[in-house]
Amino acid sequence: GQQVMQIPQYQHVQEGEDFTTYCNSSTTLSNIQWYKQRPGGHPVFLIQLVKSGEVKKQKRLTFQFGEAKKNSSLHITATQTTDVGTYFCASSSNTGKLIFGQGTTLQVKP
């Protein structure tokens, strides 16, 4: 079945450094969604990408969908301590079921 793999599993950065998490699939994805989950919290929807090669920005966050629609990335510029959490990518299967990656947990050292 459809799977999305995320790397890295963990990332520790110094505040001010950049951070990137990658989401990969062996099959073509219809869309990709990104969620953030703070420690002890619940996933919060960030964005959805649908088009091949699509790039969207939210302040310091840049989201990309690969040309082949098999991979995606989330890049955070100049991390802050408020960026701490686990970032999940997720994609809808052809039945509408949302399949989540394993997540990348970001720690930011002040």
Partner: protein
């Protein structure tokens, strides 16, 4: 606008006991989801409702889990009897049908089975 409401927030039970979780989705959201999230992993779908109809329950362990959404609004997820491996966070989410605007999650119920 109120978010997705879940109760209880925490539940500790002994194995073989029953437990039930309740969810009230965002008003107007026709689609409701129940997920289970184990520590260090992403949410895994248990069941998805479109209004009162369960359209995807392929991942629901039907021998012990059941769910209902009788009036197409709030929903209940039940486990009977609970096993040690059921310890996890149970998340409810809702979304407006067909808009592709993502899912809105509730705070979850953290279940500990001892």
């Amino acid at each position: 606008e109120a978010g997705v409401v879940q109760s209880p927030r925490y539940k500790i039970i002994e194995k073989k006991q029953p437990v039930a979780f309740w969810c009230n989705p965002i008003s107007g959201h026709n689609t409701l989801y129940w997920y289970r999230q184990n520590l260090g992993q992403g949410p895994e779908l248990l069941i998805r409702y479109e209004n009162e109809e369960a359209v995807d329950d392929s991942q629901l362990p039907k021998d012990r889990f059941s769910a209902e959404r009788l009036k197409g609004v709030d929903s209940t997820l039940k486990i009977q009897p609970a096993e040690l491996g059921d310890s996890a966070v149970y998340l409810c989410a809702s979304s407006p049908t067909g808009t592709g605007l993502g899912q809105y999650f509730g705070p979850g119920t953290r279940l500990t089975v001892t």
